[in-house]
Structures are given as structure tokens and as C-alpha cells.
């Protein structure tokens, strides 16, 4: 049995989802020869830690009841630096301007020789090259499947399952909120504003939806895909971005009459990175509705491969984090 001591830094929707999945999959992980021992959990107010393992079920209850998991006034960053462990699960908020605390956490993890599994797009969008270098220099593993498309497997699919294939291009729907809004506008023949309001009510769009509807979130994910699968060192500024705020119900209807749906498509190829509303033939594999994400990878040998799945949600995203964890420790 191999013991993996891990911290969960960031205990919001995703961090808690990870805790639940680890509890749920404890026996399964054992059957793979893996004992995942969470030695620290941190949120913005502090942390709890125990070198012999914290009680995850109690952490979840405490977070729900008191609003914080903290028992000590210690930050996640300090714990990464000071506490002996193998893996940092980094699930703090995405910040694409500075990289936020996530960037500091990842740097500290690599400086102290730890592996990182994350769902946080900010550091990956801003400092991909630097972080990869740091991981390499430390001999650390660095995985971020959950940062793009939630449960939809794309990075590991291309890097592992399709290994050996040169990737010629990737295009897809990488933001569930935009997909939901466009799908509903067509169904209801309703304006962008009305459906945006509905999405906020349902909790599908955030109170400040600009990050999603202006195409910024899609652009960040595109940058991560370009870097991870194309071997680029692109940043957000390399993407030409147009969002969905100008789309009208009339345009959606006209498109439909001519055999198309309108989707916010992120596309990366040798010619560059672009996010824009596009016409997608109704029967095309990319024409998925609701909040689904989808990506189509054009590969040298295998041709076009399309994957679709839930792009968000705590358990769905935690599933991608779990698969990263397993693939790191099962293989070595």
C-alpha cells in the first residue's frame, strides 16, 4: 500500500467535492494500492492539519455549519511550505490578472518538491511555462485536467490515450454558461437579457457574468489546451475574443432555418487562438445543448475525436481531480 499525504487548499464547491469523492472512493483507491491521507485542509480563513490525517467527514460538517474549516490561523500557503506531504490539491479561486493565491501555492509546492493537481485556471493561463519548468526542475508531477471542461476528459485523453498523435487543431464549447444561454434563447425565442436573468436565478450564471459571456473563461481554457496539447507557451493576450452578448434570438432562429446552431466556439490551430460565436451544423458532433461542454481534437493519425461531458459541478470536477491523482500515483 502506497500512502499519499495530500493537502486540499481551497475548500469551496470543488474542494468539498474532492473531499466527498475521496471518502466515497476510499476502498476503491485501496484496491489500487493507494492510501490517500489528507493531512491539511485550508480555506480563506485558516486551516486544519494533522500529519496522521484529518477527519474529512468532520471537515465537511464544520465547513457547512460554521462557514470555515479552520481550526488554526494558518494559511494554506504556510502549510504547503512547512508540512511534509506529497500532493497539493489546489482549488482556490481563479484569478486571471495576477494568478492569485493559487500561483503562490503552486510555486511553493514545486519549491518544496510536491506534486500539484488543480482545477484553478488562473496560474495556468498566466504562467504556464514557468510552472512547467518549476515542476520539471523539482521532479514534481503537475496535472490540471479539471481546469478545462470539468468532467470532460480532454488533456489526459490527448496526452495519454492518443499519445503519439500530433494534434493539428482543437475546437469546442468550453463554457457551460454560454452554451446554456444560447440553447435557451433559441428554445424560448427570448432575448439575451431575459435568458441571462434566468440563468442567474438558476445559479448557472454568476452575479457578474462577464467572465463567462464575454468569452474570457473560454479563452483561458483555450490557452491551457494550446499549452498542454500544442506545446505552446501562450497567454490570454494571444487570444482573439468575441463573446455572446450581441447574439439575438432572430439570428439563432435564422441560423436554425438554415441548418445551423450558434455556439461560442474556442478554436486553436497553428494559425492562432480564437474565441467567437460560430455557426455549427445542427447534426455536427459539436452541436450539443444545455450546459454541456464538448471538444473536438483533430489528430494526425486518429483523425477527428470528439468528447463531451459536464463542464462544471463539484462532483464532476472532483472526478477529474481524482483521475489525475490516480494516474500520477498508479504509474510510478
Amino acid at each position: 500500500m502506497k500512502t499519499i499525504r495530500t493537502s486540499i487548499i481551497g475548500f469551496g464547491a470543488i474542494g468539498q467535492g474532492v473531499a466527498e469523492v475521496l471518502l466515497l472512493k476510499k476502498e476503491y483507491l485501496r484496491s489500487l494500492g493507494l492510501e490517500v491521507r489528507v493531512v491539511a485542509v485550508a480555506d480563506s480563513k485558516g486551516a486544519t492539519f494533522n500529519p496522521n490525517g484529518v477527519d474529512l467527514a468532520k471537515c465537511l460538517v464544520r465547513k457547512r455549519e460554521t462557514g470555515t474549516v479552520a481550526l488554526e490561523k494558518l494559511s494554506g500557503l504556510e502549510l504547503i511550505k512547512r508540512l511534509d506531504h506529497e500532493l497539493v490539491i489546489e482549488t482556490t479561486p481563479t484569478n486571471i490578472e495576477t494568478g492569485g493565491v493559487g500561483l503562490q501555492n503552486m510555486r511553493a509546492a514545486f519549491e518544496t518538491g510536491k506534486d500539484v493537481v488543480t482545477s484553478n485556471k488562473g496560474p495556468l493561463t498566466l504562467k504556464y511555462g514557468e510552472l512547467q519548468e518549476a515542476a520539471k526542475a523539482a521532479g514534481s508531477k503537475f496535472r490540471f485536467e479539471a481546469s478545462v471542461g470539468g468532467a470532460m476528459p480532454i488533456i489526459n485523453l490527448v496526452n495519454e490515450v492518443l499519445a503519439g498523435n500530433e494534434v493539428k487543431g482543437i475546437k469546442g464549447i468550453l463554457n457551460g454558461t454560454c452554451n446554456y444561454i444560447l440553447s435557451r434563447m433559441l428554445e424560448e425565442k427570448a432575448s439575451y437579457k431575459d435568458i441571462l436573468a434566468e440563468s442567474m436565478e438558476l445559479g448557472i450564471a454568476e452575479t457578474d457574468p462577464s467572465y463567462d459571456v464575454e468569452g474570457i473563461d473560454t479563452a483561458c481554457k483555450l490557452v491551457i489546451l494550446a499549452n498542454a496539447l500544442f506545446g505552446l507557451d501562450a497567454t490570454y493576450n494571444d487570444v482573439e475574443v468575441t463573446g455572446i452578448t450581441k447574439i439575438t434570438p432572430d439570428a439563432l432562429e435564422m441560423a436554425q432555418e438554415n441548418g445551423y446552431v450558434i455556439k461560442l466556439i474556442g478554436e486553436v490551430s497553428r494559425k492562432g487562438l480564437q474565441v467567437a460565436p460560430r455557426l455549427v451544423p445542427i447534426k455536427h458532433p459539436l452541436a450539443v445543448g444545455g450546459t454541456l461542454n464538448v471538444a473536438s481534437v483533430d489528430t494526425e493519425l486518429a483523425g477527428e475525436i470528439t468528447v463531451t461531458g459536464k463542464g462544471a459541478g463539484p462532483i464532476e470536477t472532483a472526478s477529474a481531480i481524482l483521475s489525475d491523482l490516480i494516474s500520477i500515483y498508479r504509474e510510478c
Binding site: K171, T242, K246, I247, T248, D250, A251, E253, M254, A255, E257, N258, Y260, I262, I265, E267, K271, Q274, A276, P277, R278, L279, V280, P281, H284, L286
Partner: protein, 167 residues
């Protein structure tokens, strides 16, 4: 029927007139003329490409009249539109003279607006249009899209292109 025709003119004044006269006599409608002033054939003539609309039964007569005027007809072919694209435009499409744009594309000779749907929900509201363009080849299609792109940028229209078409 749309015809593309390669002809050769001698390098003396008045040749173009001799070439155009038979067209009107045979009721052919000239769509474009591409004149290669710099180019010369080995016969020291000037190559010119015409695209015209004519009835099939008038074509032989047209060729004969051109030859009679001393114009060499090198190649005649039916112009086929092999490529087609639908584009959605959103914004103040109407006020921007959509007809101008269509005319510009049609005048290229190698591309044509074959369909246009418009929706104008209200004066202050953005309208939407779906335009279908046919072109003789991929390159020509891109050139037609370039015209549309130029207009969209100038008039602040959102242009929604199909996937697979280079934006």
C-alpha cells in the same frame, strides 16, 4: 449561364472596344473584366479574363463575332460555383446599406449572394441577417468574405461564420 472567357488583345488602341461590341450585340451581360496590363503572351498579346452572363445558344455566335473582330478566344468555360457559405450578421444591418455590400460581392464575378434573410425587430433593436454566398472556389470565397469582413468592421456588425471557415 455564367461563362468565364479568356481572350487576348493586340497591343494597339481600340482593342477593348472591339472585344466589348460583340457582347452587347449578342446580349451578353458583362460581369467582370480582369485586365492584365503588365502581362504579355508569347504572341505579344494582352491576356484578358471576362466573366459574363449569356444564353447558351448565343455563345457560338459571340465567339465567332469576337474572332471576326480579330480577338483571340483562348478558353471558354461555364463558371460553376463550387463553394458556398452562410454568414450571420448582427447589428444595424439595414442602415448600413446591405445592398451595397451585395453589389460589391456580385460584381467580383467569382462570387454571388444567392440568398438573404433579414429580420428587423424594431428601430432601436439590432437586426439580424443571414447571407448565403456562392463562389467559384475556396480562394474566391475567402475574397468575398473579406469584403463582408471589411464592411462588418466598418459598421460594427458581428459576423458569425461557420466552423471550419477561416475567420
Amino acid at each position: 449561364m455564367r461563362i468565364s472567357m479568356d481572350i487576348e488583345l493586340k497591343d494597339v488602341p481600340g482593342q477593348m472596344l472591339l472585344a466589348l461590341q460583340p457582347l452587347s450585340e449578342c446580349r451578353a451581360n458583362l460581369i467582370t473584366v480582369v485586365h492584365h496590363h503588365q502581362k504579355r503572351t508569347p504572341r505579344n498579346t494582352m491576356p484578358v479574363q471576362l466573366v459574363l452572363e449569356t444564353r447558351p445558344e448565343n455563345l457560338e455566335l459571340l465567339k465567332a463575332r469576337l474572332e471576326a473582330n480579330g480577338i483571340r478566344v483562348v478558353r471558354v468555360g461555364e463558371q460553376r460555383f463550387r463553394e458556398s457559405v452562410s454568414v450571420v450578421l448582427i447589428g444595424h444591418v439595414i442602415h448600413t446599406g446591405i445592398q451595397d455590400t451585395i453589389d460589391r460581392i456580385d460584381k467580383t464575378g467569382f462570387a454571388e449572394v444567392v440568398d438573404l434573410s433579414l429580420s428587423m425587430p424594431g428601430i432601436e433593436k439590432p437586426s439580424s441577417a443571414l447571407i448565403k454566398i456562392d463562389a467559384v472556389g475556396k480562394e474566391e470565397l475567402q475574397k468575398a468574405l473579406a469584403i463582408l469582413r471589411e464592411v462588418s468592421a466598418k459598421k460594427d456588425l458581428l459576423m458569425v461564420l461557420p466552423i471550419g471557415i477561416q475567420a
